[in-house]
């Protein structure tokens, strides 16, 4: 439960950061907003138990890449005046798009639930013919989500 709450908080942080990164007119602010999103994502990685990746996310992404971005923005002296304003009606069309996207996603999920064998039934039986090695995928071939993405 704590994990879900943490996920919600960090997720919100990442979403807000991402949203600001793509909408703010000032490039410096946009980059800093992206840093915020990266930090949020790093938090989620920590929550999911991938501490090493989370650390890398903070060090490499937030620390190195985005600072390079910031450096370039300042090097070429990109000011808010150089950035055209966002198209009008973005909120309206954005909401319509989000609604449509959710409908699509729900429809997708429903279809998946109805047509695919339930996760329990399709529980992968251990394939003994192929040894499990690093980088091989066989263990998940029967996974419904895998089947959904790669229907072969």
């Amino acid at each position: 439960m704590l994990t879900l709450i943490g996920l919600g908080l960090f997720g919100l942080l990442a979403l807000v950061g991402g949203g600001l990164a793509v909408t703010l007119r000032d490039p410096v602010y946009a980059v800093l907003a992206l840093v915020k999103a990266m930090v949020g994502l790093a938090g989620i990685y920590f929550l999911l138990g991938a501490e090493y990746i989370g650390a890398m996310q903070v060090i490499v992404y937030a620390g190195a890449i985005l600072v390079t971005f910031l450096f370039v923005v300042m090097l070429i002296n990109l000011s808010p005046a150089d950035i055209p304003p966002l198209p009008r009606g973005l909120a309206l069309y954005g909401s319509i798009g989000i609604a449509l996207g959710w409908m699509l996603l729900l429809g997708y999920a429903l279809t998946a639930l109805m047509t695919l064998p339930s996760a329990q039934e399709a529980r992968p039986e251990q394939d003994t013919s192929l040894p499990y090695l690093f980088g091989t995928l066989p263990p998940y071939r029967q996974d419904p989500l895998y089947r959904l993405c790669i229907p072969l």
Partner: protein
Amino acid sequence: MKVELLYAVLTLAGGIFSLGLLGLLLRRNLLLSFLAIELLLNAANLNFIAFSRYHNDPTGAMFVLFGICLAAVEAVIGLALTVRIFRLHEDLGLAKLAQLRW
């Protein structure tokens, strides 16, 4: 790791991916388009981590590690090109760069 948590993380990744796509569509500036691409990459990374945890398999985490390296390299080269283009054109508007050769 429960499947509900996986779905929640996947939905979050989808949201971030959508934001990145939105940015790519909306931004008329080369540098800011790059920013949006970083968002796309991170959404993919998040997916990898989620499945890696769900399946208890480190392969996904390895993918993410490579992805971050890739992102760093891409950022360096892309930004270097961006600076060159800016020197050449004094402008980073995508509309101005909409030609196949110059």
